[in-house]
């Protein structure tokens, strides 16, 4: 008697979201990316379809960041030029540019105005062909003003605007809806709030195929296993038919990994067996990204070009079908 190997069957699947718009679609991007749409758990090709490869976004700031000096050799000459920085990131393999408008933080001296932010966005769009995601400074009132200006400046480009949170989603959802852009909804590693947020965003009229979720992941060694459980449960919910859990998931792998002490510490400050900087940092980021892909991330935000190379190579192997 032949042995029948048990396979899970699912009734639901992830929502597919398209980021970017080409000339034919009313934008100027060289290509679009499709996120999500899986009908199985991550990389289990034998139990469902995985129509879209995970995507790597690279981080660009509108001001000089306080990053480890090991990034200087890649971006040292463009820290103050987001458009040139984005172009470099594209060269380093970014599928998507993730622009963080840190300079608009109202706490900063010379905080950027919404108009200045819109200019940065236009410059980045002009310099690159990759689809764009834009994150406001994270202060609710300023986010609303900045992202409205950004949405107008990027009309037709189908960018993603972030980040909407439970107590601050109306303005961003309105900007996304009016400009036909995508929206990033974020919750603090809380699946119940994430679901509620998706309900509120869609009730405002944003279609589900324009919603991306950021479950706010931890970095390697700093709560990543909790993120893993949350993301796995979200995917499971989507697969058993919970529509409000179907949006594709973006993970801030780079920023979270590099927030820790371990990737940044100079060799003389390193613990025993830590290995040398910058390889240690690159591995820390790559491992964070890979773990989050295994947890169900559809897009990982990354920082170090060498880590991007490693993760891209790893995605190649993960995307070889293991169907039987």
């Amino acid at each position: 008697m032949p042995v029948e190997i048990y396979k899970d069957k699912f009734t639901g699947k992830g929502q597919e979201v398209i980021l970017g718009a080409t000339k034919e679609q009313g934008g100027t991007r060289a290509y679009t990316v499709k996120l999500g749409g899986s009908s199985t758990l991550p990389f289990l090709f034998y139990e469902g379809e995985i129509p879209n490869r995970p995507v790597i976004a690279m981080e660009v700031w509108d001001i000089k960041p306080d990053w480890s000096p090991c990034f200087d050799q890649y971006y040292g000459d463009v820290w103050n030029d987001p458009a040139a920085w984005a172009k470099k990131a594209e060269g380093y393999g970014a599928d998507v540019i993730y622009l963080r408008l840190k300079g608009a933080d109202p706490e900063l001296e010379n905080s950027k105005t919404p108009e200045e932010c819109a200019k940065v966005v236009k410059a980045v769009l002009a310099a690159t062909g990759a689809p764009l995601m834009v994150e406001g400074p994270g202060q609710p009132d300023k986010d609303n003003d900045v992202l409205q200006a950004v949405a107008d400046a990027a009309a037709g480009e189908n960018i993603a605007l972030g980040t909407a949170e439970k107590d601050n989603y109306r303005g961003i959802a309105a900007a996304a809806m009016m400009g036909k852009h995508c929206i990033i909804g974020r919750s603090p590693v809380d699946i119940n709030i994430l679901k509620q947020l998706n309900i509120m965003i869609t009730e405002m009229g944003v279609p589900l195929d324009k919603v991306i979720n950021d479950p706010l992941t931890g970095g390697l060694g700093y709560g990543i296993e909790y993120s893993y459980s949350t993301m796995e449960r979200a995917r499971w919910g989507a697969l058993i038919g919970d529509k409000m859990m179907t949006p594709p998931v973006v993970c801030l792998a780079g920023p979270e990994a590099w927030r820790a002490k371990e990737p940044n510490a100079a060799n003389e400050d390193a613990g025993p067996g830590w290995g040398d900087q910058p390889d240690r940092g690159i591995m820390w980021e790559a491992m964070t990204a890979v773990a989050l892909l295994q947890a169900g991330g559809d897009l990982v935000l990354m920082r170090h070009p060498e880590a991007v190379k490693l993760v891209k190579k790893h995605i190649d192997t993960l995307m070889v079908s293991n169907k039987y």
């Binding site: 069957k9 119940n192 679901k195 449960r233 409000m244």
Partner: protein
């Protein structure tokens, strides 16, 4: 997996529907189809009732006018299988439910191949000509034969909705716990397990507070393995109790508007 509510309201036994069927007036029927869709029905039961002059023609007509106003699949409720087939043809797409077929060979041979042909599910009753058994074991024995019949006629077991048949608590009280035990066992019969269903309102026939009896029993039954029921989807307190039971069993991820989300399917 979410609990499926089968809306019971389009039944010729109700006065407004009975009159509409007699006069071929689509409005009351379509109104109830829309109302039950909005209330979260996963299926809309269609029973032409006793007043229809021509059950076959009425079934066909009602299936057609309901399909015009809602995408929710229809449960064709009749003992006349030619009328059900006319309804399936009128619906013209898979996903409908045949309500119902007992564990009697002649009826199985009529209904199960029809379900396979039209891609329909079946409400299968745990009874035969000798009637409804009292104890759980006899109910489960019927269920096992119905599962075997599904396999024989090429009906997927998860298209089967096994109804262990609840009786009014004021005249047949010992049945209520037996049905709960039967539900538990039916869910372990095969993989994928068949669905389970009940004509829920039956449990409260003749009691003064029917809604209380209905919602208490439905929560007990959901806990035992009930995953669908023919109910009054307009009974808000019951629908809220169902949504809450479903959530507490971890079938749906909690969020503050879980009741609303449940209604939206």
């Amino acid at each position: 997996m979410a609990f499926y509510m089968i809306g019971e309201r389009i039944n010729g036994m109700f006065k407004d529907i009975g009159e509409a069927v007699a006069k071929f007036d689509p409005k009351p029927i379509q109104d109830w189809a829309v109302k039950q869709t909005q209330a979260g029905a996963a299926y809309i039961d269609l029973n032409v009732g006793p007043t229809a002059a021509d059950r076959l023609k009425s079934m066909e007509w009602m299936a057609k006018i309901i399909s015009e106003v809602t995408d929710v699949p229809i449960a064709l409720d009749s003992t006349n299988y030619d009328a059900i087939e006319a309804g399936l043809v009128a619906i013209g797409k898979p996903g409908a439910l045949i309500n119902s077929c007992p564990n009697e060979r002649a009826k199985i041979e009529r209904v199960f191949p029809m379900a396979a042909k039209y891609g329909a599910g079946i409400v299968a009753l745990t009874m035969d000509k000798s009637g409804i058994p009292l104890n759980a074991d006899a109910r489960v024995a019927h269920a096992m034969e119905l599962v075997a019949a599904a396999d024989e006629f090429g009906v997927p077991t998860d298209s089967l909705f096994i109804d262990p048949l609840i009786l009014p608590c004021n005249v047949a009280q010992p049945h209520a716990p037996e049905v709960l035990e039967a539900l538990r066992q039916i869910k372990t019969l095969c993989d994928p397990a068949p669905h389970t269903t009940l004509g829920l309102s039956n449990v409260s026939q003749g009691t003064p507070d029917r809604s209380l009896v209905n919602r208490t029993y439905v929560v007990m039954a959901i806990c035992a393995g009930l995953d669908s029921a023919i109910i009054d989807v307009g009974d808000d307190t019951m629908v809220e109790a169902i949504a809450t039971a479903d959530m507490l069993l971890n079938h749906a991820i909690y969020c503050d508007s879980y009741v609303k989300v449940y209604r939206q399917g």
